[in-house]
C-alpha cells in the first residue's frame, strides 16, 4: 500500500558545507566583479604610486612594476575572469547543444555534424589556441571565441548519445505517431533530457576557461590593455626579484588565490546542483 507520506515531496536536504562554501566564494567573486566601478579605490591602469612597493594602508596589496594599484587590479581582474569564464562556457554550451542535437537526430545535418564533431575532437587544443591568439591578436572577445571553439566537441558527443537514446524511447515514438513535428519533439522531449548535462558542462567549462585565461596570460598572451588575473600573474613573474623578496605574497599570491577560490566554488556548487537535478545514485 502506498502511503501519502511516500507520495509527498521528499524533505529538502540541508546544504552540505562544501556547497555552502562554494556558493559563498562564487558570490563573493561575482559581487566584486559586478560592483567593480563602485569598489575600485583607484583606476587600475593609472600610475598612482611608487613601483613595486609592498602593502600599505593606501595600497592594500601594494603596487606593481608600473606603479598601478594591485588591489584595484585584483577586483577588475575578477570581472575579466568571470566574463571570460561564463561567456566562453555559454557559447561552448550552445555549440555543444546544437551539434549534439543535430548529430543525434535523424535530420539531414546528421552526417555533417558527426564529421565536424570528430574533426574538433582530434584537434590538439593548446597549441592551436596559442597560434590563433597570436595571429588574431590578444583580445577579450577573440579569447572567448577561441576558448569556446576548442571546448565544445567532447560534450557534443555526450549530448549526441543522450539525444539518440531519447529518440528511441517509446513515448517519442508515440508522439511521432500522433503527428508531432521534429521541432516539437526536440523542444518537449529532447531539451529536458539534455538540460542537466548541459548545465554541468557549463560549470565545468567555465572553470576550464578561467584556468585557461590564467594559463594563456602567464604565457604572455593576455590582452595587455585589459587587466585580468592572468595578466597580473604574467607581470608578477616578469619581475626578476619576485621570489627573492616577499613580493610573491602580495603580488602573485592574490590572483592565484582568486582563481583557486573561483574554480573550487564552481566545482562545489556544480556538484550540489548536479546531485539535485539528477537524484539517481551514481
Amino acid at each position: 500500500m502506498i502511503t501519502t507520506a511516500a507520495l509527498s515531496a521528499p524533505r529538502p536536504r540541508a546544504l552540505p558545507a562544501a556547497a555552502l562554501i562554494g556558493a559563498a566564494l562564487l558570490l563573493f567573486v561575482a559581487a566584486a566583479a559586478t560592483l567593480t566601478p563602485l569598489l575600485l579605490p583607484m583606476d587600475p591602469q593609472r600610475i598612482v604610486g611608487d613601483p613595486v612597493s609592498g602593502p600599505t594602508p593606501r595600497f592594500w596589496l601594494g603596487t606593481n612594476a608600473q606603479g598601478h594599484d594591485l588591489f584595484s587590479q585584483m577586483i577588475y581582474g575578477a570581472q575579466t575572469s568571470l566574463l571570460v569564464g561564463f561567456s566562453a562556457a555559454a557559447l561552448s554550451v550552445i555549440l555543444s547543444a546544437l551539434a549534439g542535437v543535430a548529430a543525434g537526430s535523424r535530420g539531414r545535418g546528421r552526417g555533417v555534424a558527426l564529421t565536424v564533431i570528430d574533426l574538433f575532437l582530434a584537434v590538439p587544443s593548446m597549441p592551436l589556441a596559442v597560434l590563433l591568439i597570436v595571429t588574431l591578436g590578444p583580445g577579450l572577445w577573440s579569447l572567448i571565441g577561441i576558448l569556446a571553439l576548442l571546448s565544445w566537441a567532447p560534450f557534443a558527443r555526450i549530448v549526441r548519445m543522450q539525444v539518440s537514446a531519447t529518440w528511441g524511447r517509446d513515448y517519442v515514438e508515440a508522439a511521432r505517431a500522433l503527428g508531432a513535428s521534429e521541432a516539437r519533439i526536440i523542444r518537449s522531449a529532447i531539451v529536458p533530457e539534455i538540460a542537466p548535462i548541459l548545465f554541468t558542462k557549463f560549470l565545468l567549462t567555465a572553470r576550464w576557461a578561467i584556468l585557461m585565461e590564467a594559463t594563456l596570460g602567464l604565457l604572455g598572451l593576455a590582452d595587455p590593455s585589459r587587466v585580468s588575473w592572468g595578466l597580473i600573474l604574467h607581470q608578477a613573474l616578469t619581475y626578476p626579484l619576485l621570489f627573492v623578496t616577499d613580493a610573491w605574497a602580495w603580488w602573485a599570491g592574490p590572483p592565484a588565490i582568486g582563481i583557486v577560490a573561483t574554480t573550487l566554488g564552481l566545482i562545489a556548487a556544480g556538484r550540489e546542483i548536479e546531485s539535485r537535478l539528477n537524484p539517481s545514485p551514481r
Binding site: A122, P124, P127, V130, L131, L219
Partner: protein, 317 residues
C-alpha cells in the same frame, strides 16, 4: 580503421593548412616595411618577393611549403636567425626528459594510490592519502609551482629555483652533471607529478573497484590461484584506460609543460613557446605548433589502434 586513419589525416591536413594560411591572411605584407617611415627600396622589395616566391599563385606556394616540410625544413627563426628545426631539436630532449619522466612517475604513483583506494577504501591511511592527492591535484599548476618555489627553493634553499642546469657545469665530470640535472628537475617534475597523478588514481580506482566483488574473482580464488595471479586479473581491467591516458599525456608532452617551464625557467619546448610568443617569432611559433600538434595526432591514432587490441570490446564493428 581506415575511417579513423582518414579522420586523423584530415585533421593533420587542417593543421598544416592553418599553419600555412594564417600568416597569409594577416593584414599587411612581408615586403611592405611595416610602421617604419622609410619604406624598402623597390629593388630590395623585388629581391625579397622573388626569394620568397610571393608572386606565385597560392597553390604553388602551398606545394612548395609542403615540399620543404617533407625535407624537415621548418623555416628560419626571426629573432635568433637560426633554423627552427635545430632550435626544436635542442629543446626536445629537455622537455621529453622532464615531462615524459613526470608522466611516467605520475602514472605509477597514481596507479598505486588508486589501487589502495579501491582495495582498502575504509582505512584511515587511505582516506588521508586520497584526500591529500586529490586536494593537491585540484590546485592550478602555477599555484603549486609557486608554493614549491617559495617553500623549497626560496626559503629553505634545498633546490634551485629554476633553470635546467648550473651555468658552466660542462667542465665537470659526467656523474656530477647528472646529479646537477636531476637536482634541477626535482621541483618542476614534482609539480607535474602532483598535477597529473590524480587522474591516474581516479581511473585505476574506478576500473578496479567494481571488479573486486565480481564472481569470476571469487571463482578464481576458490580454485586456489596465487595472490599474484589474482592481482593480475584485477589489473587487467584497469589497463586499457591507463594506457590511453598515458598515451595522451605522452603525446601532449612534446609540446612541453608551458606553465611549469615558464615558472621554473626550464629550457624545454614550453619555455621556447613562451619565448616565441613574447618576441612574436612567427616561424618559430609555427614550428612548435606544427610539431606538437602532429605528435598529439600521431599518439591519438596509435592509441586508437592499440586500444582495440588491449580491449577487444572497443574495436569498431
Amino acid at each position: 580503421m581506415t575511417h579513423r586513419l582518414l579522420r586523423y589525416a584530415g585533421v593533420a591536413v587542417l593543421v598544416v593548412g592553418l599553419n600555412f594560411l594564417l600568416p597569409r591572411w594577416l593584414p599587411g605584407s612581408p615586403v611592405a616595411g611595416g610602421d617604419q617611415t622609410a619604406a624598402l627600396p623597390a629593388a630590395a622589395r623585388q629581391a625579397l618577393t622573388e626569394t620568397y616566391h610571393l608572386r606565385d599563385p597560392l597553390w604553388r606556394q602551398f606545394t612548395r611549403y609542403l615540399a620543404d616540410l617533407a625535407h624537415g625544413d621548418l623555416g628560419w627563426s626571426m629573432t635568433s636567425h637560426r633554423a627552427v628545426r635545430l632550435m626544436l631539436a635542442e629543446r626536445l630532449p629537455w622537455t621529453l626528459g622532464l615531462v615524459g619522466g613526470a608522466v611516467l612517475v605520475a602514472a605509477v604513483f597514481g596507479a598505486a594510490v588508486g589501487w589502495r583506494a579501491a582495495t582498502h577504501p575504509r582505512q584511515n591511511g587511505t582516506r588521508v592519502l586520497t584526500s591529500a592527492v586529490f586536494g593537491i591535484g585540484a590546485l592550478p599548476e602555477f599555484l603549486l609551482g609557486m608554493l614549491l618555489i617559495v617553500g623549497l627553493a626560496s626559503k629553505l634553499r634545498v633546490f634551485p629555483p629554476g633553470g635546467g642546469q648550473t651555468l658552466f657545469i660542462d667542465d665537470a665530470g659526467v656523474l656530477q652533471r647528472l646529479i646537477d640535472l636531476a637536482w634541477h628537475a626535482v621541483l618542476p617534475g614534482l609539480t607535474l607529478v602532483l598535477i597529473i597523478a590524480p587522474a591516474f588514481a581516479l581511473l585505476v580506482r574506478n576500473a578496479i573497484a567494481p571488479v573486486l566483488g565480481a564472481p569470476f574473482l571469487t571463482a578464481a580464488r576458490a580454485r586456489g590461484l596465487p595472490a599474484r595471479r589474482l592481482a593480475w586479473h584485477v589489473w587487467r581491467n584497469a589497463l586499457p584506460p591507463v594506457v590511453t591516458l598515458l598515451g595522451l599525456r605522452l603525446g601532449a608532452a612534446v609540446a612541453g609543460a608551458a606553465v611549469v617551464e615558464r615558472l621554473f625557467a626550464y629550457p624545454g619546448m614550453g619555455w621556447l613557446l613562451f619565448e616565441a610568443v613574447s618576441t612574436r617569432d612567427y616561424p618559430l611559433l609555427q614550428g612548435i605548433v606544427l610539431v606538437s600538434s602532429l605528435a598529439v595526432l600521431t599518439m591519438n591514432f596509435a592509441l586508437d589502434a592499440i586500444g582495440a587490441w588491449l580491449d577487444p570490446r572497443t574495436a569498431p564493428s
